[in-house]
């Protein structure tokens, strides 16, 4: 049961949010996730306390990975995270031998946010995991995952081309599909040719 296992592992990434909501559940953390959480706890916790208070007040949608209706949507698990937790989540997927399908962006101009969407799938058992994260549209920055999945290198360069999202730590964030001197990002909704 890959889906259940990966859901549980990713769920632990939300522990610090859940703690502020309901204290008791923090005890049961899976081993895989425990290792992962060690790697960057301080920054994640700080960011959580600043930016998440509104969401924490909504009891209707508890944070965490959501199972979706595969027949209707085409993917199994929908994981919305803060940018600084993406690397930890992707490390969990890498340990479970997922492969990377693609990375892309969506411009939510009305919210003044850019969303990065990471698609993963598994060779042995059908399990499509979507990781999404939102960043400020005026200063979009997300940590790179190209050191974990080398294939992400080009996907991140393409997303930088089209949306201007800076993948911090990327070894070579030069234009890939656009001309080498391109200073525009054509998939932004306010882009005018």
């Amino acid at each position: 049961m890959l889906l259940a296992r990966i859901k549980e592992a990713l769920d632990s990434l939300y522990d610090d949010i859940q703690e502020t909501q309901e204290a008791p559940e923090a005890a049961e953390i899976e081993t895989v996730a425990a290792e992962a959480a060690v790697e960057e706890p301080a920054a994640a916790a700080a960011e959580q306390e600043e930016s998440k208070p509104e969401e924490a007040e909504e009891p209707a949608t508890p944070p965490g990975p959501k199972e979706t209706d595969y027949q209707a949507k085409g993917y199994h698990l929908d994981v919305e995270l803060d940018p600084d937790k993406v690397v930890t989540a992707v490390e969990i997927l890498n340990r479970e031998n997922f492969f990377i399908e693609s990375i892309t962006g969506v411009d939510w101009i009305d919210d003044q946010q850019l969303e990065a969407v990471y698609d993963f799938n598994h060779f042995d058992e059908l399990c499509r995991v979507v990781i999404r994260t939102r960043t400020d549209r005026n200063n979009p920055a997300i940590p790179t995952i190209s050191h974990i999945y080398q294939g992400a290198n080009w996907h991140e360069r393409e997303t930088h081309d089209f949306f201007g999202i800076k993948f911090t730590g990327h070894p070579n964030l030069e234009p890939l599909l656009l001309p080498e001197d391109a200073d525009f990002h054509p998939l932004l909704k306010d882009f005018k040719a």
């Binding site: 492969f99 990377i100 693609s102 969506v106 294939g151």
Partner: protein
């Protein structure tokens, strides 16, 4: 070989430009190679020479008007791209497809897959210095193009599928023509096998050349024959069944070696498997409508995002839609397989001789317009 490289790292290397106009790149791909003599130290593919921004075009025209674009990404197996797009929109908008239409989709897509593999076969052997097989392969492929032209109306840039069905029904001459083609190919494949596959020169050029490990394929997201040549049993038609593929009995050729020969063998075997699918589909072809009784004119998928993947000739082609509930896409992401397959070229080609790297590149089966989109 690697030891030699390490030792000589202090020596001067030079930059060699392969392309953008080079016969082995089949289109306009440029590869900046850092060379240590005859050996590759680093290879940097430079993309975008024919980038057309299909994804932006998807955002400024209606769902229906984007249909012709799908035939202009991978011009060698355009129908798979048609299929991926219409199926994604059908999933998002909840459009039903009659069974006969799905059968016609499978028959034409598989014909297209064979024609794509045949062209690859000819061009690949041409890259390696054998000119003649190209002419034979084109002869066979021509028969398929004629068949597809008779039903779709075009030879390469197909726009045959519609939301909820297909544009045109097949007739008896198409069915007999297809059966004859399969008969013909069953005679030709043993000839290719004897003349090319068992040819000692070809074997020496491909065996153990350009190994791609399972893990490398996974880290780069390689799919299709490239992954299956590395021992990964992954085919979207089997692993994420769509359309009417579950109704057919076919095998997924997998080779463990991971070298260029393995990728060659996967594609050659796939031609036979595609023929098996077509035969069964023709035998079972149900009567009935080929499109909805009431034409689908206004497509307005519900708000949300949707994913749909199909197995194109070169790997997993995925469409990610974001709909805002209007008749135009809010975002349309096209995940093309060769883009991921090519991205591993740098790592896979390090320490290789230049002619061997060209064999590796040919075995990836690149189609540049599909990479650049």
């Amino acid at each position: 070989m690697n030891g030699l490289l390490q030792q000589d790292l202090n020596q001067e290397t030079f930059i060699l430009n392969l392309g953008p106009q080079h016969p082995a790149t089949h289109g306009v791909l440029r590869v900046k190679l850092e060379m240590d003599g005859e050996y590759i130290v680093k290879a940097e593919p430079v993309l975008g020479y024919i980038h057309r921004m299909h994804e932006k075009m998807g955002e400024n025209r209606t769902w229906v008007k984007f249909l012709p674009n799908c035939g202009r990404m991978d011009y060698l197996s355009a129908l798979s791209y048609n299929h991926g797009y219409v199926a994604a929109v059908e999933r998002a908008a909840g459009i039903e497809v009659p069974e006969r239409a799905e059968y016609l989709r499978v028959i034409t897509v598989e014909l297209n897959r064979i024609s794509s593999h045949l062209l690859w076969f000819g061009a690949f052997v041409l890259d390696l210095g054998g000119f003649t097989p190209l002419l034979y392969a084109f002869d066979d492929r021509e028969q398929i193009l004629d068949l597809l032209e008779s039903v779709t109306g075009s030879r390469l840039t197909y726009c045959y599928f519609r939301f909820g069905g297909v544009y045109n029904d097949i007739d008896d001459s198409f069915i007999t023509g297809t059966r004859e083609l399969i008969k013909r190919l069953r005679k030709r494949m043993p000839m290719y096998d004897a003349l090319v596959t068992k040819n000692i020169i070809l074997i020496k050029r491909l065996k153990d050349i350009g190994p791609i490990s399972k893990d490398m394929a996974r880290r780069y997201g390689a799919t299709g024959p490239v992954a299956r040549g590395s021992g990964i049993n992954f085919d979207v038609r089997k692993d994420e069944p769509y359309s009417v593929y579950p109704e057919f009995d076919f095998d997924v050729p997998v080779y463990e070696e991971g070298d260029s020969m393995a990728r060659y063998m996967v594609r050659m075997d796939e031609i036979e498997q595609s023929m098996r699918i077509i035969e069964q589909a023709l035998d079972k072809l149900p009567e009935g409508e080929i499109k909805p009784k009431k034409a689908v004119k206004l497509v307005k998928p519900e708000k949300g995002d949707y994913y749909y993947a199909v197995e194109a000739a070169r790997g997993s082609f995925g469409v990610r839609l974001v709909s805002d509930g209007t008749n135009t896409a809010y975002r349309l992401k096209l995940r093309s397989p060769t883009y991921s397959n090519l991205s591993l070229f740098d790592e896979a080609s390090r320490g290789m001789l230049l002619p061997d790297a060209l064999a590796l590149m040919g075995s990836l089966d690149l189609v540049i317009p599909e990479i650049d989109r």
